[in-house]
Each structure stands twice: as C-alpha cells, then as structure tokens.
C-alpha cells in the first residue's frame, strides 16, 4: 500500500443505545493514523483510548468470520479488511462508519441479526441424502464441486440481507442469503432434496420477491452473485413444475 502523508484521520461513527438514547447521534474522533491501518483498527483505538462505551462486533480481523460487516463511507464492507488508505483513495476525506442499515440496532454498530439467522435456518441449510452413507466419501467431480464453489464462500455477514429492498419492505421475505444458500444445496451433486428445497424457495416469500435489483451482489464482500443464484432457483422451480415434480 502506498504510504499516506497524514497524521490523523477523522472518524465519524454512529452511536445509538435504544435503551437510553432517544435518537442516534454521530460522534467525531480524530484518530492517529499509522500505515496499514484498517477501519477496525480505528474503532479499537476509540474503544481503548477515547470512549470505552463504543460497541461493535469483531473476531478474525482477516475477512473470513463475517462479524464486522458495516456500512462504511456509503458501501457495505468488512471493517477488518478495509484499509483506511483505500477509503481515502476513493476520494473520501474522513471515515463514516454506520451499522448495517435496515436492521434493528442493539447498540452502536451492533445490529440484531435474528431475522437473518431465522431465515437461514428456515431453508434447512444442511445436506439431505436418500441413500445410506458410503464407507468412504461421496464422489464429486471437480466440475460438480465448481458449481458450489462461489456459494460455499459465503461468510454469513448479513450485508446482502441488509442491502435488499425486498427485505426492507417484505417482513417475510427469506432474503438473498437464504435464497443463495438454497441454490447452493440444489446444485450440490450430493444432495437429494432439490425438489423440497425448490418448494421452500419457489413461492411469494421466496424467489418471486427478488426483483433482480443486484444490491446483494454489489454489497457482498466476498463477491458472490446472489442474484444469479436466485435466478437459477426461479428457472429450476419452473423446470421442476413443468416436469411435474411433486
């Protein structure tokens, strides 16, 4: 990363405790800048040196656990892998850190993901097989494995869910993540429950609520194309219906 010739970076961070605050506010902090600093580093500086009441989620700090998805300078990003320098290179002069939009705030940057997890659970995201397990592995060719590669990379961070207009208005919509994960199992050569899965997804609370807006795909920090997975679900549901699947 190119070095930045600055000593401090201005951080504006969303603050709200629904139990004590009547409305949210934005706190402004000037944080010492060091090369290689990430947005998560800046939040930790605030927590440890300025204001111990700041709440945010974190864990792996390398972009694989999905804990720290936030809305940073107008984009969905993982705070841990977002370099301050990169945000500045985009033309921003300060950091704006908000919680994932459209989700209830528990405190500050910590959001309530209950609905996201419930929807994930609702699609039965586990393998279903109709044959007895073989002694060794179920064979799967590299080509078959490739069909699920993009989707198994999901880190369940909730960015797509937070970004989807159909989720904002439709309280019962399963959302892009649960749809994409359904498709992940439908196309997995080892799974035998494709028809049930399509039945769960191919309805008014599922696939037909997707209006191919592509917000999810744009929001995904792992660059997964949920929209195309949902389109795949629609196609396969119609095909199954035409085949007369029960």
């Amino acid at each position: 990363m190119a070095k930045l010739d600055i000593e401090r970076i201005r951080l504006k961070v969303y603050r709200f405790d629904p139990e004590t605050d009547r409305e949210a506010r934005i706190d402004t902090h000037d944080v010492p800048y060091v090369d290689g600093m990430t947005v998560l580093d800046a939040l930790f500086h605030v927590l440890e040196k300025i204001d111990g009441s700041l709440a945010f989620r974190f864990s792996c700090r390398e972009g694989i656990c999905g804990a720290c998805a936030m809305f940073i300078n107008g984009s969905y990003r993982l705070a841990c892998e977002t370099q301050v320098a990169r945000v500045l290179r985009e033309g921003h002069r300060e950091l704006h850190v908000m919680p994932l939009p459209h989700l209830p705030v528990i405190k500050d940057l910590v959001v309530d993901m209950t609905r996201f997890w419930q929807n994930y659970e609702a699609i039965a995201p586990w393998i279903v097989t109709r044959t007895a397990d073989p002694e060794k592995e179920r064979l799967q060719s590299p080509a078959q494995r490739k069909l699920i590669d993009e989707y198994v990379g999901c880190i369940l961070c909730g960015s797509c869910f937070s970004s989807c207009p159909s989720v904002w208005t439709g309280r019962e919509y399963l959302g892009p993540n649960a749809m994409m994960k359904t498709y992940r199992w439908v196309v997995d050569s080892r799974d035998d429950a494709a028809v049930e899965r399509l039945g769960r997804a191919g309805n008014e609370k599922g696939a037909w609520r997707c209006h191919t807006i592509f917000n999810c795909t744009e929001a995904c920090p792992k660059k997964i194309n949920q929209t195309s997975a949902i389109q795949g679900l629609k196609r396969r549901t119609v095909a199954a219906m035409l085949r007369g699947a029960r």
Partner: protein, 569 residues
C-alpha cells in the same frame, strides 16, 4: 436458574462437534459462545486437515500408523502416543463423516477428497477445501447443529466455573447484550474455548482468542499442561500477522531471503520449505536476525512460479488477503512474511477422553492439552484434533450425565451455583467500577509485547526471568486499572478487561513453565540449552494456580511404540 444436561462453552469446531455428539447420545445440550458460532477462530483455519486417506497419487501406502509417527516425531516425542494413535486412527472416520455432512472439500480428478503435502508429513495427507478449510468445516458443523436444533447462547462470556469438592456444577456467564450475569447449571460442562494467541504480540489469531477458557478453568483449580510450548507459524503477513497458510508451501511455494536464496536448504535439506513449523519459523527468524532479511524484518514467500491458475484455484483467500492488506498480488510478487504466534500446544490438562481431574468438567480443542501435539504441532493436526476429541469429549460427557453425574449427584447444584454467582458478581462489579490510574489497554499491550519478546522463538534464562518479572508487575498493576465505561449493555471495555486478568495468569504459567524447562524441545528453543534432554525433561509440565503464582509438577509422557530418536528433516 438456567440448566442444561450438557453445556458446551465455545462454538468453534470442537465445541459444536462435542455438542452434536452429546445430543446424538440422547442428552439435552446447549452451546454458549462469546460470538456467533461461525465467527469462532476455527473459521480462520486455512490449509487443511490431516487424515491418512491415501487419495493422493503419492500417498497410496499412507496409514494411520505413519500419520502417528509423523505426529510424534513432529512433537519432538512429547506427545502421549496412545492419544496420538486415537487421533490418527479416528481421522479417516471423522473426515468421511464431515464429507457425508456436506463439507465442500476440494476434489481429485476422480472425485475423491483432495489432499496436499504439509510440513513434517511423510505423505500428502492434508485434506483441504481450497485455502478455506476451517471455514468449510465450521459452516458444515454449524449446519449440523441447526439440523439438531441445538440451542446456542450467542455473545455470552463465561466468567467462572462452578466447582465444589472436585465436581463441576456449571458456569457463570456474562450476557454481553444485557450485561446480566447468569448462573448456568449443567450436568457436565465441556470447554472448547480455543487458544490464547492474543496473550502474545504478533499473533495470527482472532482478536477473541484470549485464552479465557483456560484461564477460567485455571482459576477454578484445574491445572494447565505444557503451557510453555507455543507455536510460531513461519509465514504470517508482515505487519499485521494474518496467517499465510502452510498450504502455500504445500502447493510448492518457496521461502527466499533478501539475497534471493532458498535458505531452507541450510536448515532442513530434505524437507526444505516443508519442514515442521518450529524449525521453519526459527530458520526464518535466524535469517532475519543475521541480516539476510528485508528491512523491517521479513523474508519472502514466493508463489510467483506457481502460475495464476493454480493460485486462483488452490489459494484464492491467501491472494485476497495479500492484496487487501499489503497491496501485493502473489501471482506477480512475493509475499512479505515473518513468523507470528500461532497456536498453544498446551492447555487444560485432560486425558484422552477429554476428562479433567474435576468430575463433570471436560475440555477439547486448542484450549485442551490431551496431549497430541507435544512440543510442536504439525500443520493440519489442529482441525483434526478439534473434531476427533470434540466428538470423544461429547460422548464421555454424555456418558457421565447419564451415569455417575446423574440427578442424585447434582443435589447440591442450587447452593453451589448461588455461591459462585455471588462471588462472581462481586468480581465483575469490582472490574466494572475500577477507577484506578492504570490504562488496561496499556497493560494488555505490554503483556503481549513482553511475551513475544521474552518467551518467544528463541529463549534464554535471563530474558525469560525478566519477562516473568514483567508479568508479575502487570499482575500487580491490574487491580489498579480504570475503566472508561460503566454501562452494562454490550460493554466491551468491561468484557475485555475482565479477561485481562486471566491473560496475565496464563502468561505467568507459560513463562514459569518455560523457565523451568532447561532444554530445547520442539517450539521451546533455548539458546542457553540448545539440546533436547530426554533424561530430565521427557515429561509434561503441569501448572496449578496458587496464591503466589503457578506451582509446577511433572508427569511422564506415554510412550507406546516409538522410542525417542534424534529429530532431523
């Protein structure tokens, strides 16, 4: 009061596997975790998981025995060989089970689970899912807990273990969201809380890996074993120490110093880059210390000769991380790397069933020491340990609840839990109300810096003594700290500094164990005692917490079939 037949603390691979096993054995189970299960550190494991499946063309005659031998040699003969044999013979069963549960392993051309070479292993036996193996395994395991509808207490932090008369009754935990302290009674408790990498500076670990489970057990009187054995991973990203998988070398990556030399030929002429981690990490640090590193203190992990296609297919996450954090694209440029703290071989003292000396209290995974890793763990064996021994601990905990730990044995539950809840309440409020002059963030930083510098890759009496003194000083300064925030809801200042005491105590056990072990073995390398000394130190260190620090005891190593030999690669 909340009560569960089996309570698992920790939602990583070992914890979830234990919960599944106890559930399938007919117990009512709950998991309590500091973070949502998929945020656990298991998710960050990259390179793979070992099992002698013989799927690789060069591994046709691989076997659990050969896997056991490699593990024992890798451990510098400190591993208990009976436990290692369990580990390696259960490995294929556990891997196939994960596959049957839908784990998206990478595949060979004929559709079997793909395997790659790893450090210290005689055969390519590391099963992988690109370079996101931990992620693939953890998500699969989580799916199985969802299928079983196992209850998870998310974002609860265990503060104390309820033990009375050698029997465990449950835990007291802080619900981060409400700030309430809750007593959680249990027929059996299984700790699967992970390692304590963050006690060290320059760690590859998750930020949440503070060793809190080890510390909670240690403070409740459960001994810790072999704590001085700390693994330093050879290749962590220069600057922030994010892990760069051993799989990168397994796929054929080179290590080069500033002169462009593949310096491993001096240290491990046969195994080269695939020498075990202790040897490779010390080799890198030696190059840096002797002036053949790059300015700032790093060497290169060179993948440029592997080609774009192989890197994109086998090491995509490594590439993303390198680009995101350093701006280096490994397809075109070598990655700057340095050794970083990576793993605790030691942990809560358990036998090969996961049981501790406290009835009804079990441990599995990195927080436990069975011991299968001895003085140095082989890459690909930690994921394996979580699943094999998570399963075993779950089964034995369930057996305990159904048998001797049944209803009658829990008559005193309410009284014990009330007492421990009361004591814990006082302790957590003392921390919440702390308003002394010491900044806890400074204490934490000083602890981490001290441990990496004084009980690190190269150790000696003088430096370690100074380190231990510094840890003592931190222990004294801890009660004089002041918090910045006194609210109860989602108070990270409170939760993190509550853990700090345990970090200091565990650090003390590490340093004391290292000072007392006057030899070099595996990851424990002393410049003032460079040889292994089987006569005096072929034994496990057991540390018990007393009023004035750890009291050390020793226990013999179990040798079954492999007599200790010189260890060369």
């Amino acid at each position: 009061m909340i009560y569960h037949e089996v309570l698992v603390v920790g939602g990583g691979l070992a914890g979830l596997r234990a919960a599944i096993e106890a559930h399938d054995a007919g117990c009512e189970v709950a998991v309590l975790s500091r973070v949502h299960p998929v945020r656990s550190h298991s998710v960050a494991a990259q390179g793979g998981i070992n099992a002698a499946l013989g799927n690789h063309e060069k591994a046709q005659d691989d076997s659990p025995e050969r896997h056991a031998f490699d593990t024992i040699k890798g451990s510098d003969y400190l591993a208990d060989q009976d436990a290692v044999e369990i580990l390696t013979s259960e490995a294929p069963v556990c891997i196939y089970e994960m596959e049957h549960w839908g784990c998206p392993f990478s595949r060979t051309a004929d559709g079997r689970i793909a395997q790659r070479p790893f450090g210290g292993a005689g055969y390519p036996r590391t099963c992988y899912a690109a370079d996101k193996t931990g992620h693939a395994l953890l998500h699969t395991m989580y799916e199985q807990t969802l299928k079983r509808r196992i209850r998870v207490y998310e974002e609860w932090q265990v503060v104390s273990l309820a033990v009375e008369d050698g029997r465990c009754y449950g835990v007291v935990a802080l619900d981060l969201r409400t700030g309430a302290l809750e007593a959680v009674g249990a027929g059996a408790v299984i700790f699967a809380t992970g390692g304590g990498g963050r006690i060290y500076g320059n760690s590859t670990n998750n930020i949440i890996n503070t060793g809190s489970g080890m510390a909670v057990a240690y403070m409740a009187g459960v001994p810790l074993k072999d704590m001085e054995f700390i693994q330093f991973h050879p290749t962590s990203l220069f600057g922030n120490n994010v892990l760069m998988t051993e799989g990168a070398r397994g796929e054929g990556g080179y290590l080069r110093n500033a002169l462009g030399e593949r310096f491993m030929e001096k240290y491990a002429p046969q195994a080269m880059e695939l020498a075990p981690r202790d040897i490779t990490a010390r080799a890198i640090q030696t190059e840096i210390n002797e002036g053949r590193g790059f300015p700032g203190g790093y060497v290169h992990l060179d993948l440029t000769h592997l080609g774009a296609e192989r890197i994109m297919e086998r090491l995509p996450a490594i590439r993303d991380i390198a680009i995101n954090f350093t701006g280096v694209d490994p397809i075109y440029e070598p990655i700057p790397i340095q050794p970083g703290q990576h793993y605790f071989m030691g942990g809560i003292d358990t036998d090969s069933t996961g049981a501790t000396e406290v009835a009804g209290f079990y441990a599995a995974g990195e927080c436990a020491c069975v011991s299968v890793h001895g003085a140095n763990r082989l890459g690909g064996n930690s994921l394996l340990e979580t699943i094999v021994f998570g399963r075993i601990a779950g089964r034995h905990a369930a057996g305990y609840v159904k048998g001797e730990g049944g209803e009658a044995a829990r008559s005193g539950l309410a009284k014990v839990m009330a007492r421990v809840l009361g004591e814990t309440e006082k302790k957590v409020l003392r921390v919440l109300e702390a308003d002394g002059p010491e900044d806890p963030a400074d204490l934490r930083d000083e602890l981490r810096e001290t441990m990496f510098r004084t009980v690190g890759l190269f150790r000696d009496e003088k430096t370690m003594t100074a380190g231990l003194e510094k840890v003592h000083e931190l222990r004294e300064r801890y009660p004089r700290m002041g918090l910045r925030h006194r609210g109860r809801r989602y108070n990270l200042d409170w939760a993190r500094n509550l853990e700090l005491e345990g970090m200091i105590l565990v650090a003390e056990a590490i340093a004391a164990g290292a000072l007392a072990r006057r030899e070099s073995r595996g990851s424990h390398f002393r410049t003032d005692a460079r040889e292994r000394d089987d006569e005096s130190f072929l034994k496990h260190t057991i540390a018990r917490l007393t009023g004035d620090g750890p009291r050390l005891e020793y226990r013999p190593v179990t040798i079954t079939r492999w007599e200790p030999k010189a260890r060369t690669y």
